[in-house]
Symmetry: C2
Subunit: 634 residues, 2 copies
Amino acid sequence: MTERKEFRDLAPPEDAHDAIASLDLGGGTETVPLREARGRVLAERVDAELDVPGFDRASMDGYAVRARDTFGADEADPAHLDLVGEVHAGAEPDVTVTEGTAAEISTGAVMPPGADSVVMVEKTDESDDGDEVLVRTALAPGDSVMLAGADVAAGERTLGPGTELTPREIGLLSALGVDEVPVRAKPRVGIISTGDELVRPGADLNSDAGQIYDVNSYTTATAVEEAGGEAVLYPHAGDDYEEMEDILTEAASECDLVLSSGSTSASAVDVIYRVIEERGELLLHGVAVKPGKPMLIGRLDAGDSPSAYVGLPGYPVSALTIFRTFVAPAIREAAGLPEPRTATVDGRMAVEERYGEGRRRLMPVGLVEDAAGDTLVYPVDKGSGATTSLVEADGIVEVPAETEYLAADESVTVQLFSPDVRAPSLYAVGEDDPALSRLLDRLDRPRYLSLGTREGLRRLRNGVPDAAVAAGDPEVAADHEDLGGWTREWGLVVSEDNPEDVSGVADLVDRELRLINRGTNSGLRTALDDAVDSLADERGTARRDLADAIDGYDLTVKAHESPARKVLAGDADAGLGLRATAAKLGLGFVSLGVQDVRVLANPDRTEKSGVEALADTVDDAESVLSALPGYRPE
Amino acid sequence: MTERKEFRDLAPPEDAHDAIASLDLGGGTETVPLREARGRVLAERVDAELDVPGFDRASMDGYAVRARDTFGADEADPAHLDLVGEVHAGAEPDVTVTEGTAAEISTGAVMPPGADSVVMVEKTDESDDGDEVLVRTALAPGDSVMLAGADVAAGERTLGPGTELTPREIGLLSALGVDEVPVRAKPRVGIISTGDELVRPGADLNSDAGQIYDVNSYTTATAVEEAGGEAVLYPHAGDDYEEMEDILTEAASECDLVLSSGSTSASAVDVIYRVIEERGELLLHGVAVKPGKPMLIGRLDAGDSPSAYVGLPGYPVSALTIFRTFVAPAIREAAGLPEPRTATVDGRMAVEERYGEGRRRLMPVGLVEDAAGDTLVYPVDKGSGATTSLVEADGIVEVPAETEYLAADESVTVQLFSPDVRAPSLYAVGEDDPALSRLLDRLDRPRYLSLGTREGLRRLRNGVPDAAVAAGDPEVAADHEDLGGWTREWGLVVSEDNPEDVSGVADLVDRELRLINRGTNSGLRTALDDAVDSLADERGTARRDLADAIDGYDLTVKAHESPARKVLAGDADAGLGLRATAAKLGLGFVSLGVQDVRVLANPDRTEKSGVEALADTVDDAESVLSALPGYRPE
């Protein structure tokens, strides 16, 4: 086995850019129908092959005449011309205008032979018998006539190579009669995810065997397309050398670039590493940028010309970060596309961020707008989980290795994960609540993080979110404006018809019942803690003693439905939860009380339209609350 | 025939917006594969249907243990645990961890029954015989374990309706195993161009019959797609009532919205007008906005539900202007898409623009960046021709009816014709020259308007373009920096082998030869005028007399190849042109001289990167010049 060099000599980030730039990502030419050319980039200059218009063209409705026949004509003394016919747009003239004659003509029609100008209909009268036209103005040759080629002349340069084709360029090419255009080929990018545990979305998942859905394949494929490449998904590869070799070789023979990502397991990385070394060339292994340690750059042999290869980290935000920073620019370059103007946004740090790793950091960040519409930027840490942080993070801020901290209010530039990413209209944090979830549906692009009441209030104190949602009766140390709220009935969710006949907290303490609890950030947990406190007071003991007596008191799960779902799955006798959840899942419910849910705005953001919309929604919550058992307006 | 109400009572623009808003443009829901969902908009909230991860998961490579077995362990006094097996990612554990035992585990693997924590491999040693693991740290339950649902918990709100799907949202949905997503349907927009004279690109064009290529169909279709709609092209309709009725009815039955555009002929507009009145309902005819006079808004009957109808002006820039202002926002709204952040750009007027029509104006404008990167905005008039102005104009500035003029430096907001439009890297105006055309190919997105030497110098004096290109020896009144240039040989392009034996200007005067000339803006024309002057001096007569004696002296065409192409087509005996053009087209050439071509920069823009690139390209013109007969470096 090849010795692993990983993590010893991390390459400077500039070397990674150079290594990728040294690879050939395609950049050929293909011909596409004009109708499908939107967003493509012209590969060659297009010169006009014909005149536009292709004929001398009347630019007014009126009469085609010989200008010299109108010499001296005016309102009082019109020129009398014999009407010899008419010419319509789209028809070949079947009339010749000779001295003393005129032909009726429509805008866009071909000038008939002999005529050199058009008099607009408003400056004429027809004689009563229709045989004559009276021209009440004098014309010069060329009046109201557009000469052939006056718009675009054959041989003229019209569009240069590198032009991105938007509607107007498509229009210009239409005018030239072009129906196929030579454009830069899209780099073909093969995507392979590695790891025995991955299953593609839509397939069955065996959680007992540790399977998880493959996140990076679709994310990366979408990002490749966004950068102007064509993504090809290959079957995922396990840790087997031969399987990996087969798939990488197949992808290399069909694609300009092969990207692998997915596995966090060291053995899968080892296997890829060996395949690249043996079936290609490894240019670089590990980049001195956080999170660039596991990055690989190399070539894979493939028939005539080698394919480029880049290995991305397995953690989804890291994979997207490395893709955004190193790979997307190379794909765009090969496709001839400029970086979108919306690829970055300027803002200022909402909080201080300390950093001292001595390695350049690509820091995942979220965006929030203040009341004036200025962009504030805050770090998103991995704590929220691989998947959740994927949608929490809007982009990355590059922090130089020598930077020890970013001060609050410091200006930063955010490299967005997608040019379509924008700051949410509302950023709120707090309790997980089904009524709130429905109310959020009414808002335009809100971001709500269900991290619990405590975390919501903690973040509100830091001034970053627009609002926090608190359940129970917590002490709110943060300045806030109360936007209103509702009450919800909480208790123990049990199996249908309560077969164990659970009647309250005392049963949990005194009987052999298994509970699933919520975490201490949750307002529901605080309510249960208080109930245990009361029981402890009654019994003259300490809360901790009673809690220790409850099987599963410290077994906490994340979301409001999670304990109930454990009960439904038969994994527990009781779960901390809401009457609404029990009703939704068809479970039994033992009521332990009613608690407030309050929506609290950041006082600096009350003028922000997203906060105003939230306030309106809370005011108008009646229909949502009445549909949820155990909910009441305040 | 219904009486035409057109152009009598123009509706206020707000009424046009309201009328379009009153129409139903679809907005239904459809299900698409996740893999194809990029850029689509979620139609419904997506709650997690499963826990992510779906099992308690090791988050480190190491050993799965019972935390209580490591109590008190440290570097000096490790806990000794019996190694009972191993668990890999993607495999079901076949081992149970009981008191005093441990199982080797990989990152991502399922925690085996009995274990409650993972010790990282760096804090352990295996015994020499491999039967035991020595744990050199004390653990708490849950250490290095991610509980099922800790990332996303079943029942949690994950994405709300209205969310635009970018790579990260696709990633989140992948993690949830979702492979089909409910998205907002794209409004289906039928496009009909009207007018007997239109031919679709790619088909044969009969210029003698006044046919022209259809510009608006493809332009509008592309703009519809850019706004998030699905475009359906219908065969173009002529001025025949029944044909028009059939096509409009077919489109209405298949689409949410029907757009017509194209004809400038009054009769085609009349026919559409009648069809809408008789087969639907006309809501509005003519909007008090320049160029909104010909706009129609209505409904077309179609089975169950009527289709919306909007008639666009025929002039391409006007069609795009009205589409951008009134139709695109409605399509985006129906598709659930926000206006792109790049849909507008702020700038300041490069020149004063007077206006006094008393009607709101949607003024087509071009963009140019100054040396500091600020955006300058200048009006683009129709003078340049329907097709040319389509690519000259980057967007529109809305000028209120009561505004009499926009001052130079006044701030304006430009509604771009496409979110992908950006200011060119270089904006230059001047002589049409084949060497220049090739040099421009080396630049990134230049805009060059071949309007002739005089117009180039005039605009350079106004300070708007970055550079002008002048041929001949014109008086340059504008401040400028000379970036260099070359010389080109000019003269008369004649048929192959010069069958008429043309030898110079005197032949044109003295013999019955037909000439095709260039316009007075052209540097070539100035050279010919000078040659005629010399001959007039020789002969002691006036230039005008000689010019009058030349058949076709006043017959001018637009581009540098145009006269030669007339000669090639047999329409003339001689054309003013270049040796390079004669060589390219295989024609004869009578040399009349050599003239300078100079590239002159706007002195305020010499620091601009596009101008620097132009200067470099001119310095490095050797290879281009040597490939063109009659060209020489300066």
